[in-house]
């Protein structure tokens, strides 16, 4: 939205991304994200959401076009040192189990500081005391201080995602990419994770992929709808109504399952009390 390069977190232009079999995954003519903006990306499976996020963290390379993240152009090929430099400032929360299973919760949080900890300390997992105390504070912020010495594979799904957010807090990135951070979580845990994530993103730019429209107000002021690799709409949260969502999800084969309405109804009634989120055009009753 903002053309000023200093205040710009992400700028894409003429972007084309292809899979190994030359199928086009993503095609974006022009997309800009200002520093400090909070954006949600929605769209059905295979619409290019994850590709977009992997592009911004340098895990995927575009076939054509330019990508600029935090003022750095992601040219191809990108020197490894510059890519690492960028990744220090880009925090990621991915779906599934993004933790190192055999390390403790605290050690997993400390991984967030690896970008700053150089040399043998990072190799031997012998972190400076200052980082350790910061990591403990981060665990406390997500309410897991009691679980610090527990191994990551002994934690529940929600607790693991909280550890990932604590890792984010320690990393203190300027741009946060969250790919379905609430996948496989129950509605109550999903709201909690979203609120923690929004808190961790204070002062930073947050780009998240969300499936459940109920969670949109927690994470974003601007919503980008992707459909078959193209931007279907790019609106502020207030402008996004059932019409846009319906058009996004109805077309093609990706019709939401029949029990979706019931499921999201029950989640919205539970969340109502927490967020005061009723009567919005996004409320799921009229959603299809």
């Amino acid at each position: 939205m903002n053309g000023d390069p200093v205040a710009r977190a992400v700028a894409l232009s003429g972007l084309v991304c292809r899979a190994a079999d030359q199928r086009t995954l993503l095609e974006v003519d022009e997309l800009q994200v200002a520093q400090g903006e909070r954006i949600a990306i929605i769209g059905h499976n295979g619409s290019g959401k994850t590709t977009l996020l992997r592009l911004l963290s340098g895990f995927t390379r575009p076939a054509a076009g330019s990508v600029e993240v935090l003022g750095r152009a992601l040219a191809d090929p990108l020197p490894a040192a510059r890519l690492r430099n960028l990744r220090c400032e880009v925090g990621q929360v991915v779906q599934g189990v993004p933790l190192v299973a055999r390390l403790t919760a605290l050690e997993n949080v400390l991984i967030g500081s690896l970008g700053r900890v150089a040399g043998w300390r990072g190799w031997m997992r012998c972190f400076p005391a200052e980082e350790v105390s910061r990591a403990e504070a981060a665990l406390q912020a997500v309410g897991l201080q009691a679980h610090a010495p527990r191994r990551a594979d002994r934690l529940s799904g929600g607790e693991r995602q909280k550890v990932a957010i604590a890792r984010l807090l320690l990393q203190r990135p300027r741009l946060i990419l969250a790919d379905e951070p609430t996948a496989a979580l129950d509605p109550l845990a999903a709201t909690e994770i979203c609120r923690l994530l929004a808190g961790a993103a204070r002062g930073a730019t947050l780009i998240s992929v969300v499936h459940n429209p109920v969670l949109l107000p927690l994470l974003a002021e601007r919503v980008i709808g992707l459909k078959q690799g193209r931007v279907a709409f790019d609106l502020s949260l207030a402008e996004v109504g059932e019409q846009e969502l319906g058009a996004l999800y109805r077309a093609g084969s990706a019709v939401p399952p029949a029990d979706w309405r019931a499921a999201s109804q029950s989640s919205s009634t539970r969340i109502d009390g927490v967020t005061g989120f009723t009567g919005n055009s996004l409320a799921s009753q009229s959603w299809r």
């Binding site: 990744r87 993004p98 967030g112």
Partner: protein, 297 residues
């Protein structure tokens, strides 16, 4: 071998329902061919009086020689045919001397297995990293590593031992090197498999905070594979203790020397003593490694 693999792949193309009976039939035909040809060459006989031989051997086996160390005849007289006394032997002393030699040989076997296994594990580590399919190692390097591992696995410890005795001479060094060269293949395969089952999402998560390759290795890969490496190491080490008991037969020292001595002289009582030691060694190591493995996972 390649013939079996071929019929297997063709069975897959035919579809599972028809493929399995076809494979079973091929296997049955192979067994019949083996039996019929051996019988035709007259190689399936059991010797002249197998039952009597079996009974005699079993009786001697049932009385291991170490019992003599306490209950042997302390005044065993050897006489010539005309009755004159040739020599007097204290059976207890002789057997005690044998037991001391046995303890020394056991220690040698343990040393061969331990050092051979460690050497093999250290040599296999880089080869396993190179041959793991998920680490994007340059193709020619990966092929080379896999070829080295396959060759090492294909050649038996005894064959390596025979060759090495010719090179470095008789003694435990040949045994250690033989164990190391053969186990290299087993270690490489096991290590590569544990690297291949790594959780790539966790590795990407560590990379995504800007960690360098060495930091990724020590923070994501090493903690995940270390327990599996230790477990594989214990497994192959135990296997090598069993394997190194036989190496003495070719002159590499240890229990195998006593085994070949006892069989050459038909001293089944002594063989039974040696085999008891082998059994105790393997069983106790197995119990120990199982506990360590359980504690690790």
């Amino acid at each position: 071998m390649s013939w079996l693999a071929f019929s297997g792949s063709r069975a897959d193309r035919l579809g599972g329902r028809l493929g399995f009976p076809a494979l079973t039939l091929a296997y049955a035909l192979l067994v019949v061919a083996c039996l019929a040809s051996l019988a035709g060459e007259g190689e399936l006989s059991l010797g002249r009086n197998p039952l009597a031989n079996l009974a005699k051997t079993a009786v001697e086996f049932a009385r291991p020689s170490f019992i003599d160390a306490w209950f042997g005849n302390p005044w065993l007289e050897y006489r010539s045919d005309d009755g004159s006394l040739l020599r007097v032997e204290n059976r207890q002393e002789v057997e005690r001397g044998y037991l001391a030699g046995l303890a020394e040989a056991t220690w040698t076997t343990i040393r061969i297995a331990t050092l051979g296994s460690l050497l093999a594990a250290l040599l296999a580590l880089p080869l396993a990293v190179l041959s793991a399919r998920n680490l994007a190692v340059p193709r020619p390097l990966a092929w080379l590593a896999r070829a080295v591992l396959d060759v090492a696995r294909a050649i038996h410890t005894l064959v390596f031992g025979l060759v090495l005795v010719g090179i470095v001479g008789l003694g435990p060094t040949a045994g250690i090197l033989a164990i190391a060269l053969h186990s290299l293949g087993s270690y490489g395969k096991l290590f590569a498999e544990s690297i291949e089952t790594l959780d790539m999402a966790a590795i990407d998560a560590v990379r995504s905070v800007g960690a360098g390759p060495v930091q990724v290795f020590f923070n994501a890969i090493w903690p995940a594979v270390l327990p599996q490496f230790v477990s594989s190491h214990l497994y192959v080490w135990e296997f090598n203790i069993r394997d190194s008991t036989i190496l003495g037969i070719i002159g590499a020292g240890g229990l195998g020397l006593l085994i070949s001595e006892a069989t050459a002289l038909f001293q089944w009582g002594r063989l039974s003593t040696v085999l008891l030691v082998v059994f105790l060694l393997v069983a106790s190591f197995d119990a120990m490694s199982r506990r360590i493995r359980k504690a690790l996972l």
